[in-house]
């Protein structure tokens, strides 16, 4: 899947051949500012339009069989409430695999995107047997939904 960094790298494009008029300079300034905002906002999220509502549907059909969106609620896996930004293996009382506990990951959007693509490859030995979401758009949407769980 195309990563965010690659996607946003393209429009920056280096020199565009324009003469640096004030207007152009202003536009360049605005562009840089906007770009900075995009980089800050999407330093990790996948490069797809994110639809949290659609992500909720993905969550319900693919994730909720094992994970709750409610705080502190364990079903098969740990609650995903507040998962974005959380360190791996850190929900108190949950029986993690050694692999997950020792992975040293932080579940930022970028890491979540990689993990959700193929959990077993990112954390070999994880107890999460889910084979992964192979549709980048679904991943982007579900991560958008997870980001709202705070």
């Amino acid at each position: 899947m195309p990563r965010t960094e690659r996607t946003i790298a393209s429009p920056t494009g280096g020199s565009n051949g324009l003469v640096a008029t004030p207007c152009v300079a202003y536009l360049q300034h605005v562009g840089r500012t906007a770009l900075a905002a995009i980089v800050v906002f999407a330093s990790s999220p996948p490069a797809h339009a994110q639809d949290a509502d659609a992500g909720k549907q993905v969550f319900r059909s693919q994730c909720s069989i094992c994970h709750s969106a409610q705080p502190g609620r364990t079903i098969v896996g740990p609650s995903l409430f507040g998962v974005v930004g959380r360190h791996s293996g850190s929900v108190p009382g949950f029986h993690y695999s050694n692999a997950n506990r020792q992975s040293g990951l932080t579940w930022d959007p970028s890491t979540l995107d990689r993990y959700l693509t193929s959990p077993q490859q990112v954390v070999p030995g994880t107890l999460m047997t889910f084979p992964g979401l192979h549709d980048p758009k679904q991943r982007a949407n579900v991560i958008a939904f997870l980001k709202g769980l705070h």
Binding site: S68, H95, N98, G132
Partner: protein, 455 residues
């Protein structure tokens, strides 16, 4: 007198059918979900369901995740072969073409059709050829329609199941269709008296139930069952148990479950009531003397420690009380009185190491009101003192070399090798000369070695 001679045979036949045909993990589900059998089954083979397995079943077998054509391939096959030894040889051959003891058998060859149809529909159908009697029958069948309802912070899963027996559709491991022992010899003798829930309507009836699963905790289900007509019985290789239903038999199931870190528990209750025209043959019944009615009340519970799946411990139990009004059987001279009760308690404790090595202990205790006619003396299957009381201890050791995520040819090749021993301390009311013809309860102690292959 024909009725007297026939009844025990029917009951034993039904019990044999019940005990021998529990379906297990099937590769199509693994391919459909993209997950190994261990995700949904204890011991990699089942049929014990993990919390994820329960959710998959309640969700109508619709969960996806697999890729490629394999994820849409709905067929699987099963072979069960065994060796049976009983403490004492039976007076007659255990079955046609078999000896009185020490029998090797190809117990079952099954074909499964299983999988998701749409986001809202899925099913499981098992057809089984019996190598014991050479018959083919429609085995466990469960077809579902389900949909989730979003209730904000939580959800409600609603569903409808069309299935062929009470508890076939049940998601918990403490009800009869799925309780230990998961495989038993069809060439030995089992206690005559069994409550209706234990299988009197399994395989020979069709039921429609509706269910709701609220917040992944509260499970409610209700439905009605009717036995097949004679033609359908014959076509599906089944036979009447206690008889043909005189009217639809109501079934109610309530359960509540908890899941927390690597552990799961549930408690529940079941109700089943049925009025029968008593069976007088495999495909015939006679209600001219009145109906037999059975009302079963059961409570059940279970607990699983899954941890990180290195060490897994499970325990399940069910206690059934049955009220019987045998007016029809009494009218035909098959019972000394109409009012009876029957109770049964079953429990099991299993331990699995790395989903590969398993040890399970089980107990089955049955007791009820005596009746010298209903439980009359007869060689092997009868009772000398007219009591239904039996007590059995079961121990089983399992080795599952194939069936795990990293197994050879996973998930298409699944093999379980088991050694099971059943010890009877009481059988059909007695310990020594329990049948009135000199047979002891220990004579029915059974060693059952089996090889179970699903591919």
């Amino acid at each position: 007198m024909r009725r007297l001679a026939y009844t025990p045979g029917i009951i034993v036949f039904v019990v044999v059918l019940l005990l021998g045909d529990k379906a297990h993990a099937v590769p199509p589900f693994a391919m459909q979900t993209g997950q190994p059998c261990t995700a949904c089954h204890i011991g990699a083979f089942g049929p014990q369901l993990t919390p994820l397995g329960r959710a998959f079943k309640i969700g109508g077998y619709t969960q996806t995740g697999g890729q490629g054509w394999q994820s849409h391939f709905p067929l699987a096959a099963m072979f069960l072969g065994s060796f049976t030894n009983t403490g004492q040889s039976q007076p007659d051959p255990a079955a046609v073409h078999f000896g009185r003891n020490n029998n090797f058998a190809a117990d079952q060859i099954s074909l499964f059709l299983a999988g998701r149809v749409t986001d809202y529909a899925g099913g499981f159908v098992q057809g089984t050829y019996s190598g014991i009697d050479g018959s083919f029958k429609l085995d466990n069948t469960d077809l579902r329609l389900t949909t989730p309802l979003d209730l904000g912070d939580t959800d409600l899963r609603l569903g409808l199941s069309v299935n062929n027996g009470p508890t076939v559709q049940d998601p918990y491991n403490s009800t009869y269709a799925w309780i230990f022992p998961f495989a038993s010899s069809a060439l030995t003798v089992t206690p005559t008296a069994q409550p209706l829930l234990a299988g009197g309507l399994i395989g020979n009836s069709i039921g429609t139930t509706v269910y709701g699963w609220y917040d992944r905790s509260l499970y409610l289900e209700a439905g009605l069952y009717n036995t097949y007509g004679p033609s359908l019985l014959s076509a599906t290789g089944q036979a009447y148990g206690p008889g043909s239903t005189a009217n639809p038999a109501p079934y109610v199931r309530v359960a509540y479950e908890w899941n927390w870190s690597g552990q799961s528990a549930h408690v529940g209750g079941l109700f089943l009531h049925s009025n029968f025209n008593p069976a007088v043959g495999p495909f015939s019944s006679d209600g001219s003397f009145g109906h037999d009615s059975f009302t079963d009340y059961a409570i059940d519970a279970g607990y699983q420690f899954l941890g990180n799946r290195t060490y897994v411990v499970t325990t399940d139990a069910i206690l059934v009380h049955e009220d019987q009004n045998l007016r029809g059987t009494f009218g035909m001279g098959g019972a000394a009185r109409t009012g009876h009760s029957l109770n049964q308690a079953r429990a099991s404790l299993s331990f699995f190491y790395k989903d590969t090595y398993g040890l399970t202990l089980g107990i089955e205790n049955t007791w009820g009101t005596p009746d010298p006619v209903l439980y009359a003396p007869a060689p092997v299957t009868g009772s000398a003192n007219g009591k239904p009381n039996s007590n059995a201890f079961i121990v089983e050791a399992d080795w599952i070399p194939f069936g795990k995520q990293d197994s050879w040819a996973a998930p298409w090749v699944n093999l379980k090798l088991g050694l099971q021993y059943t010890l009877y301390t009481r059988f059909n009311g007695g310990t020594r000369n329990y049948d009135g013809f000199g047979r002891n309860a220990g004579g029915n102690n059974t060693l059952y070695a089996f090889a179970w292959l699903i591919f």
